[in-house]
Every structure is written in C-alpha cells, then in structure tokens.
Subunit: 102 residues, 2 copies
C-alpha cells in the first residue's frame, strides 16, 4: 500500500510546544491549568494549541467540573508508528530499486 502518512497529523505534531504537550499528556491526563504551569505558555496560547490538537483528533476532552481534562488518543500515535514503520521497511528495500538515469 502506498500508505502516505497523513500530513495534517504530522504538521500538528511538528510544533515544539504541541509536541511537549503531547509528551506531557503521554504521562498523565492533565487540565489546562496544569499545562500552563508545565509549559509556561499563556492560557490563551495553550487553548489555541489544544484546539488544534483536538481538531486533528489527537486528544480528547473530558470536562470535570469547571476544569477540562485532556487525554491522548493512543490509537492515533500507534497508527503513526505503524505508518512510519512501513515506510522504514519499504525504504530498506528501496535502495536497490534505482530508476535509470534519463
């Protein structure tokens, strides 16, 4: 399969702050306040990034009183892992598949 990885998800994870958020969320479920403390970013900035992550389907929200908890969707990361593994696998055999010079 010519499974090209979904560029959107990768682009979303390409931002350093968002990647930090994802790394934090991979350890524990956190709410916005915690993320503000951990990252040092402004709340409004965080909220923006969380929206991006939400729309990319990487995180889920879970309201708890007036707090909003975020947790990762492991299957998305697992999917990425698989797709990269497939690319790596394909790349290993591609070294010999050299198209002729024109």
């Amino acid at each position: 399969m010519l499974t090209s990885v979904d560029p959107d998800v990768i682009r979303v994870l390409g931002d350093p702050l968002r990647l930090q958020i994802v790394t934090l969320l991979a350890r524990e479920t956190l709410c916005t306040t915690h993320l503000v403390e951990e990252t040092g970013a402004r709340q409004t900035n965080l909220s923006n990034h969380m929206k991006v992550l939400r729309e990319a389907g990487i995180v889920e929200t879970e309201p708890c009183g007036r707090f909003t908890y975020y947790k990762l969707k492991p299957e998305v990361l697992a999917g990425l892992s698989e797709q990269f593994a497939a690319l790596a696998d394909s790349a290993r055999t591609a070294t010999e598949n050299k198209r002729a010079c024109p």
Copy 2:
C-alpha cells in the same frame, strides 16, 4: 524514558511536498529529475526541500555522473516509529494517571 520525539524531524516531515518526496523515496531511489517529474514542482523548489531533508538527516545523496540520487535513511524513520510507539504505549496507561484538580 521520556524520549520526546525530535521536533525538527517531525517538522521537516510536516510539509506535504516533503512527505510526498519521502513516500516516493521509500519506493525507489530517485534523482532530482525524477522528483521534478513526479511532484510537478520546480527544480529549484525541489532542491530547497532536498537540502532541508538532507540537513535533517532524513536522506542521503549519491552522485552518479551529473545526476544526484537521493535515498532515505531507514533508521531515521524506524526511530520515529519506535518513539511514537513508546508514546502510544505510555499514553495507554496515562488515562488513569489523572492529576488532581488544583
């Protein structure tokens, strides 16, 4: 390990054109001319992206006469795959690790 994935590599792969290039190179080793044909992008544009991919350590160049062949470095993709797998694994158990509301 709190192996946060390298943001640089991911950001490089976040660009749709570069991801297309990587997908193509995962199938066969190609030179710039082939990539121009396949992607429809300008040569100078391609060369820019190839430079980015080269500096990110994702591809290797192999001169062949006056042509330059590019091939992927599978270990980079494999590393990404592992790191995402680790994140996904960690995320699966993180759902219960909910930090208390402040």
